[in-house]
C-alpha cells in the first residue's frame, strides 16, 4: 500500500487484504481437507480393486482399511461358493439391507 495514498484508502485496502486472507484461509483449509479425503478414497478404491481381483486369498473377517469408503463396514465372508466381500451392519445414516425372494 503506497505511503502517499490517503489514510482512508489505506485502511480500506488493509481491510480488503485481511478479508481476502481470511476467506482464502478458510477455502484453502476446505480444499486441503477435500484433497486428503479424495486421496484416501482413491487409495481405498485401489485396495478394494486389488482385494476384489483375488477374493480366494482373503482371510475371513472385517477389512478395517476400507472403513469410511462406504457408510457400512466391509467384511470377508466364507460362503458355500467361496470367500466374498459383503457389507455388514447398518449404514451410519440408517441404511438397511433387504433380501427378498
Amino acid at each position: 500500500v503506497t505511503a502517499s495514498a490517503p489514510r482512508g484508502e489505506r485502511l480500506v485496502a488493509c481491510g480488503l487484504l485481511l478479508l481476502c486472507a481470511v476467506c482464502c484461509l478458510v477455502l484453502a483449509r476446505g480444499a486441503t481437507a477435500l484433497e486428503l479425503a479424495n486421496a484416501r478414497r482413491r487409495e481405498q478404491l485401489d485396495l478394494l480393486a486389488r482385494l476384489s481381483a483375488c477374493p480366494q486369498r482373503l482371510q475371513p473377517g472385517p477389512v478395517p482399511e476400507l472403513d469410511g469408503l462406504f457408510a457400512r463396514r466391509l467384511e470377508v465372508l466364507s460362503t458355500g461358493s467361496g470367500p466374498c466381500l459383503v457389507f455388514r451392519g447398518p449404514a451410519s445414516d440408517g441404511g438397511r439391507e433387504v433380501a427378498r425372494r
Binding site: 485496502a13 480488503l16 484433497e35 461358493s81 457389507f87 449404514a91 441404511g95 425372494r101
Partner: protein, 386 residues
Amino acid sequence: MRRLASPVFLAACFAAMSASIVLARGVVALRDARAIRAGVELAAARLVAEQAAHAYVDSCGHRACTSVDLGHGIDVSTSGSSDPGSGEVRLSTRVAARRLEFAFARLPGATSPVFDLRLVVASDAPPLPADWPTPAVVARDDLPRLATAAGPAPGPAAALVQRDPGIALLRLPAGTDRDDFVLGAGNLEPTADAGGAVQFVRGNLWVDCGPEPLRLSLPRDLTLVVAGNAYLGRSIAVAGPGRLTIATEVADGVAFADVDGNGRWSAGDQLRSDDTFSGPMEGAGAVYLGLPREGAEHLCFDVGLVVGGELHLAAERALVRGPVALSFGGTVLPGRRGRLVVAGWGAPLHETGLLPGFAAVGSPRPGPLRLRGGGDQPLYVAAPTR
C-alpha cells in the same frame, strides 16, 4: 496511472489473484470428489452384485433380488434372472441414478487347486531326477481330471492341428503306431462369451523342432487333450490372454519311462504299471520336451502340462511357464543335462473361471462378473491432471 497506483486497486488485484488460486484448487478437488463418487458408486454396485451372485448360486436361484442401502445416498438394488440363451445369469443393478447390468456364468465348481502350484506329482510316483525342482506331492485322486470324453470333430482349434503321416518317421527311427498330428502356428478364433476351448487330438501331437518358437495367439484358454504322446520339439510362445494347456491321457496303451530315449518300448525301459506292455509301441500319455533324437539346448514353453504318462526331457534346460502335473514321474534322456524349471501361472486359476476340459472341484460358484453393455469400466474415473 494514478488509479493503477491506488492501494485499493492493488489490494483488489492481489485479493482476486489469491482467491482465484484457492478457488481453482477447490474446484479441482470438487471435480476429483465427483469422479471418485462415481467410482465409489460403481464399486458399490459391483460389490453388491458379487454378493447377489453368491446368494443366487448358494440358494439355487431362489434369492434373486437384493436391496442394500449403503448410506450417503447410495442405494443399490439387484435383480437376477437366468438367460436361457447363454446359460448365464444376468444381474440388473441400480445404483443412484445409474443402471448397470452384470452377467456371470454358474460354474459347477472351481478349477483344481493343483493348477495354482508349479510342479506336482502323484504320491505313488517314483522320485524325480535330481536336477528338477522339488515337487508338491498330492494323492493320485487329487490330480486334475479331464471332464469330458472326446468331443465332436473337428473342434474349435482344428485349424491349428493338422494330420501329418510323415513326421514320426522323420523324427523317430521306427515311427509311431498311432496317427500323428502337428500343431502349427496361428490364432484361435475368439467367441462372444470368451469361453475356453477344448481340442481333442486322437493320436500323437507333434511340435516339430526348429530354431524359432512356435507362436500361437490365444484370445481365450485352449486345452489340447492328446490321446497319445506329445512331442514338443521347440519352444512355444503364446500371445494373448488365453492359456494353453496340453493334457495327455493313457487311453489305449501303457505308460513307460523311455530310459534309452529311442522313442519306443524296448529292453531297459521301465513300465509305469503292473501290466505287461501292450498297445502302440510308443506307449501312451508321454510328453517329450525336446525330440528324442534331436534334443535341444534351451526350450521355453508357455504351456501348462498335465502328463498322464511319463515326462521326458531331451534338452539341456527346459522352462515351463505353466504348471506341470505328473502322474508317473519324469526321465532325462541320455546325454542331456536335463534341467527343468517350472514357473507356473502367476494368477490363481480358480479366480478366473474354469480351465476348459477339466473337471470342476468343490461346490457350484459364480464365475467372474462381467459388466455388460458399457464394457469393462475402470473402477473409478482417473483424476484429471492439474
